[in-house]
């Protein structure tokens, strides 16, 4: 067996008396790809931050290369060859790709001027290796989310790391990009680079990792060779109970039409979109990145100005020119980008939850704080929102719980039509199941749902019908037996169209 690279001995971490990580002993070898899975708040991030020196362990010892590390800090970690690809991007938006990759370790000419050519060439090589078609002098701000992720990966690789920690690197990548990334990871591993891989996508963990450690509530649950454990078993370990069925039963919708969209366009982004949504129906929207699903949703709710088309709700035409109009017409939207469009991280729970529906909480022009708190308390119980306190600011909540607040915020407007945009992105298995159950309860109560997702499995498991989009157009609306992986991908990639011709 290869040499041990990272070892922790009974490591524990406490924050103001609360133990968030307890008695973790791992031993990871050189060149190993080591998976860590667990729900939000299981202690994965804390463990990583101990390894890369951001946190000091309260108890226990840390070894690197067989030597005990007395005091790790981010600077030493970098020196020793530990790099981390964080979940949230850490790139300077107005610098270009190569400047970001070499930020803090610029190559210099004669010790004074920056060696721009060399850095560009190195960046170009890296991008080739990643099969990413990103010019070295492109501005970060102009890149797509997936491209940014690739730059983040290139940045970590450029450091000639010995230990590479990846926290959910594939959330925004397409299947093709993921497979390139995995090839690169295997290549790095062959060269002796150790990789710690954290993901909610158990299928990927099983595919790429040799061993996987399961954490739950800060405690060690088990360590398994990935070829000896199934995805289902992994999920059960994480949650600590038997997960029977991921998706609730799909119920038939009612006959009445809740909303009808006719000829809706927004420039080139949304092109002549027609569909109807029945009462109590879940209509899925699938498409590859850039297919225009979010743009369509934003056009419906009036964030974007439509260039043509009409919206009918309950058989009557409505004029939606702003998000306020959409709320008044009974449409709620759960945005895809929680941090930038969903919640206010410096606001507390009640102020977030009532932000859209604040009118309901006014008495003689003043906000009735008691009623806000009562409603918040009700939602906390109903949705099992884990929070330090009822008045906690959202920045102190985990991603999954922030997502629940974002959802409750839209729900509090009492909508008839609810548009979910990637509602399960970056949240763990049991939070996902909570979301699915919630959506099912909504349609049970006669609310109609538009369900935008990039996860085929979800789309197939949840929806009555599936609309597939490509380049701003709906290329097909699938029903019943047509809802399967082949058909959906056919329409999403445009192969179907060619076949017809």
């Amino acid at each position: 067996m290869a040499e041990s690279l990272v070892k922790t001995d009974s490591v524990a971490k406490e924050f103001s008396g609360v133990r968030v990580l307890d008695d973790i002993s791992i031993d990871i070898s050189e060149g190993e790809i080591f998976g860590i899975i667990g729900e939000n708040g299981a202690g994965k991030s804390t463990l990583i931050k101990i390894l890369n020196g951001i946190y000091q362990p309260t108890e226990g010892d840390l070894y690197f290369n067989g030597r005990e590390i007395e005091r790790m800090d981010p600077f030493r970690a970098k020196e020793m060859g530990i790099s981390t690809i964080p979940q949230e991007f850490n790139l300077v938006e107005h610098l270009n790709v190569y400047e970001n990759i070499f930020l803090g370790q610029e190559h210099q000419q004669k010790g004074l001027l920056l060696d721009r050519k060399k850095m560009e060439a190195l960046t170009s090589d890296l991008m080739d290796e990643l099969q990413a078609n990103i010019p070295p002098d492109a501005r970060i701000g102009e890149l797509s989310v997936a491209q940014k992720q690739m730059v983040e990966i290139a940045k970590a690789v450029a450091y000639e790391s010995r230990l590479l920690i990846m926290d959910e690197p594939t959330t925004v990548l397409t299947a093709n990009e993921i497979s390139v990334l995995f090839d690169l990871m295997r290549d790095l591993s062959d060269r002796g680079v150790t990789i710690i891989y954290i993901s909610h996508k158990l299928k990927e963990v099983k595919e790429i990792c040799g061993r996987v450690m399961v954490l739950r509530d800060g405690e060690f649950v088990g360590l398994y060779a990935t070829d000896e454990i199934s995805e289902h078993e992994m999920a059960n370990m994480m949650v600590g109970r038997e997960l029977n069925q991921m998706f609730p039963e799909v119920n038939p919708p009612r006959q009445e039409v809740a909303m009808e969209i006719k000829g809706l366009s927004e420039g080139d982004l949304v092109n002549d979109v027609n569909f109807h949504l029945k009462k109590g129906e879940i209509l899925g929207f699938f498409g590859l990145v850039g297919a225009g699903r979010t743009e369509l949703a934003e056009t419906i709710i009036g964030v974007r100005d439509r260039t043509s088309g009409t919206i009918e709700i309950g058989g009557e035409g409505v004029e939606i020119n702003s998000p306020r109009d959409a709320v008044n017409s009974g449409i709620a939207y759960l945005p895809e980008d929680r941090q930038n469009t969903g919640i206010l991280t410096n606001f507390d729970l009640p102020s977030n939850i009532t932000l859209i529906s604040l009118r309901k909480y006014l008495r003689n022009l003043l906000i009735n704080r008691k009623r806000e708190l009562a409603k918040t308390r009700k939602y906390i119980d109903e949705f099992n929102i884990q929070t330090p306190s009822i008045r906690a600011r959202l920045e102190t909540l985990s991603g999954g719980n922030q997502q629940k607040v974002s959802l409750v915020k839209s729900l509090d407007t009492e909508p008839d039509i609810f548009i979910f945009d990637e509602p399960t992105r970056g949240i763990d298995v049991s939070a996902k199941m909570d979301v699915f159950t919630f959506i099912n309860e909504l349609v049970g109560a006669g609310i109609s749902v538009i369900f935008i997702s990039s996860e085929l499995e979800e789309i197939i498991g949840m929806c009555n019908r599936v609309a597939v989009m490509r380049e701003g157009e709906i290329t097909g609306i699938l029903e019943g037996d047509e809802i399967n992986e082949e058909q959906i991908m056919y329409h999403a990639t445009g192969l179907e169209k060619r076949a017809v011709r």
Partner: protein
Amino acid sequence: MSKSTGTINEIKERVSRVDMETYGPLLALIVLFVASSFASPIFLKWRNLTNVLRQISYTGTIALGMTFVIISGGIDLSVGSMTAFVGGVVVIMVNYFGGGLLAILIAILVGLLMGAAAGAFNGLIITKGKVAPFIVTLGTWGMFRSLTLYISGAGEFRSTSRLFPQLGMGYFLKIPIPVWILLGLTVFYSILLNRTKFGRYVCAVGSNERVAEYSAINVQRIKFLTYIITGVNVGITAVLLSSRLNSINPTTAGSGFELDAIAAVIIGGTMLSGGSGSVFGTLIGAIILGIVSNMLNLLGVSPYLQGTVRGLVIIGAVLIQRQRG
């Protein structure tokens, strides 16, 4: 177990938050107040204290409006020259309508409307023209001063009314009228910020504009209104200032008010980056600035050095903010 720790956390958090945001500036004020009473025997005299309060009532009133602008993520540099401009018009109105009670009432009304209009002008260019508030109000800062000089023909605006000065000079229950107005406005704006939909929206816009937009808030309208609020407060200040002096000097009136108003807001604990803040904090910030100048005077520090000390106080306040954030 989780319930009890929940409650403890809640209490902890409440204490710490109250501590940081409200009591920080208040504590600084108390320390400064006690130190000043020891440093100078004159400081605690009623006359001196009311004088300090009267002096801060002008920029303090403007600072209350500025608090809304800054929380929403903007800034207004034009308030000083806007004060001179509106003040000049107020004096002209008092004279034009004969200097009696009716003339004064008309002048006050015109002053408030002019302030609102000037604020609306700033707000309109910022929201419709999508120009950075810093640039727009830097431009209007120059414009208002120049218009004031033009209208005055380089002379002073001088009122002939005997009644008009009584508003700015007068007392009610031994406290100057402008101070009463400042206190009343503080209570009003504090309720507006903390208890109304508008106040909540102002914080939301400053915290994250896009989230606010997706939350069905009319972001541009909220921003626009914060500049109008500031304009109205400038109008009030202009009336009080011109009444106190019974004149307005087109060159010096209101000069440097923007700095003092912004400083009061920042010292009061409102984040320069927007998103949250406190109206009472701004009042405290204004009083702190007032006491600092007063003490420098009482201790015989050269007036030329006062700007340095004020500058240090402002920078210090921002540094403390940075550490908190």
